[in-house]
Amino acid sequence: MGYVAVTGGEQAISASLDLNERRRVAGGRSVDVDTVLSCLPELVCQVQSEGSLWAPEVAAVAVKQACGSVEEAVFLMRAYRSTLERLYTSRVIDTNEMHVDRRISAAFKDIEGGQILGATRDYAHRLIEFELADETTADVRDRLRELEASLDASAVETPAGVLDRVPRVLTYLRSIDMVRDYPLDDTEPVDITKTPLSFPAPRSVILQALSRGLTQAVIAIGYAAIRGFGLSHPTVGELRRGTVAVTVDAPGAGADASEDDAYYLGSIPVTEVESLIVADEVDEDGAHRSALDVGYGLVVGSDESKAIAMSVLDHSLRADDVRFPTQDQEFVLYHIDGVEATGFISHLKLPHYVTFQSKLDSALRSMAEKEDEADA
């Protein structure tokens, strides 16, 4: 048998996988899944957000298996998700009932229910804390005790239930007719994991695609939309972060089944953003008036930049006049999925011997034609 470039074959692949596995264990240390969950919660959250599957333990294993590569961990989650039967549809989740641990408005200083800064890095100085290098589990426990004591001492008394039904900032703007009103749309949302994209995409499709989109891509394209390649410069009307309960109706329950009879499956952490964007409105007499449009963002986890960028893109993708790629549904929605983007980019490493031979043949033939012409 003659020489075949990159015959690869079973042995090569299996050795390559072994080499890769060796890289994973070469450090001689193992991290247990609980440690991943408790020390890298935001990474685990991002993997679930882009993986569009809420399963913290599975995500933590994926992070471990992927040696911390987000791209790879998300890929593992998505592939695992493909094997799961979809047995139920949850009841509609009302984010008015979010149990809030952070809630701010950049539009108004004094808002009903108050600004709740909560835990945030926004005002942290980004200095590397070199002490962390020597931190032990005992140090972590001491630190927790200390912090809890001092936070308890300074905490303001909040009446029970206050954080479970925080009023919305936009309710005020709606009451003075400043926000554009849309008729309530109660059509069954499209499940983009069971229906291919088609255009123009319904809002439910846009929101799902953005919410599970590659975090950095959502942020980058959202950034382009507010910087110059789009018309949306938003004000964050409200950003709220907290947990929402997921419930399913009992089997056989009718459409009017009560929430009280539903099964509680658990709570998921989410971040929700309502952005305000000034929009031009034309009334029946052709007179222009300035009104406010709302862009909506909701992501699993606490990536606030992704939620804000999503609200920007939700708005810009509703533009009926496409002037910028950020307003073009096909441009944004086809390219924002991390698994698809990395999959197609990485496929370029596969052999293209047959196809390249064909390309080469065409190129040679066109050269020969040109020479013939020159001779003629």
């Binding site: 020489y3 599975v58 592939a79 799961l84 052999p351 011997y353």
Partner: protein
């Protein structure tokens, strides 16, 4: 937390959904049926469309062959064959005539397929009009209206610019006189072998979420002009340096001993069977 996977990886609901899309594709030859492509355990763009077709159609009695650019031993073919075998336990083979289901990337096996064999092609870019029109909404309308000026215009521009068409693999074909189709990037040499074939060919694009089909005995014509007929790759004077075959699809390689440039069959099974004397001389 141990988990067991279903036969052929996908859950039965997903498989049924994909088989419905396949049936629609068979009923409308060359028409791209959108389907809700699932994420697979191999890279999106690495044959996930073909893999979903294979996994949805495969049964325990099937015998599977997987090739990549004609080779059974190419890394991705090995990987896909391993995955299907692991999740189904079906027998695998490299011998074209022994397979009931053949998944391939970029080649049709040299040995003509029979009516009892299913060919699954992996497709990266299912839309033949994509270079001419980037928007899916528009290309769908063009197909609906059988408005294929764009496809011919591209060939025309190549002729004007280079004196010849310069399509590589994936030269567009007209299927059943109705739909212009991307034959997946099979070389131009393979295009004619789709025409009036005895077997069913299914094409799957996972990332682009499209399934389409060429049923048996369907007319498949490569787009061309009367005065500039379709041409396949040129291998004049070349023959395989391993088995001596001519008139097959060859790729260039370098002889590791002499360092000379030589040609070799891209279909490694065909080549091996010729060497062992099983495949009849041309």
């Amino acid at each position: 937390m141990r988990k067991n996977y279903n036969f052929a990886f996908l859950d039965e609901g997903s498989k049924r959904e994909i088989r419905r899309a396949i049936l629609k594709g068979v009923a409308i030859p060359g028409y791209q049926v959108p389907f809700a492509s699932r994420e697979m355990p191999i890279g999106r763009g690495w044959g996930t469309g073909g893999l979903q077709l294979t996994l949805s159609c495969i049964g325990p009695d099937d015998v599977l062959k997987v090739i990549d650019q004609g080779s059974d031993a190419s890394v991705n073919a090995v990987s896909i064959r391993g995955l299907v075998h692991e999740t189904t336990g079906v027998d695998t083979t490299t011998r074209t005539q022994d397979a009931t289901l053949i998944q391939s990337r970029h080649r049709i096996p040299e040995r003509p397929l029979t009516r009892d064999q299913l060919l699954v092609l992996q497709v990266p870019t299912p839309e033949p009009l994509r270079t001419y029109e980037p928007r899916e909404t528009v290309t769908r309308r063009l197909h609906a209206e059988a408005e294929y000026t764009g496809a011919y215009l591209e060939l025309f521009e190549q002729i004007v610019r280079y004196g010849t068409t310069t399509t590589g693999a994936d030269h567009p074909v007209m299927v059943g006189g109705r739909y212009v189709m991307a034959p997946s990037p099979i070389p131009r040499y393979d295009n004619a072998r789709l025409n009036m074939a005895d077997n069913l060919t299914l094409l799957g694009a996972g990332r682009e979420k499209k399934i389409y089909a060429v049923p048996p005995y369907t007319r498949v014509e490569s787009l061309a002009f009367d005065d500039y007929p379709f041409v396949t790759e040129e291998f004049e004077g070349a023959c395989c340096h391993v088995c001596g075959a001519t008139g097959v699809y060859l790729t260039q390689t370098v002889d590791p001993v002499t360092g000379e440039q030589v040609w070799q069959c891209s279909d490694t099974d065909y080549c091996a069977q010729r060497v062992s004397g099983e495949q009849g001389e041309e």
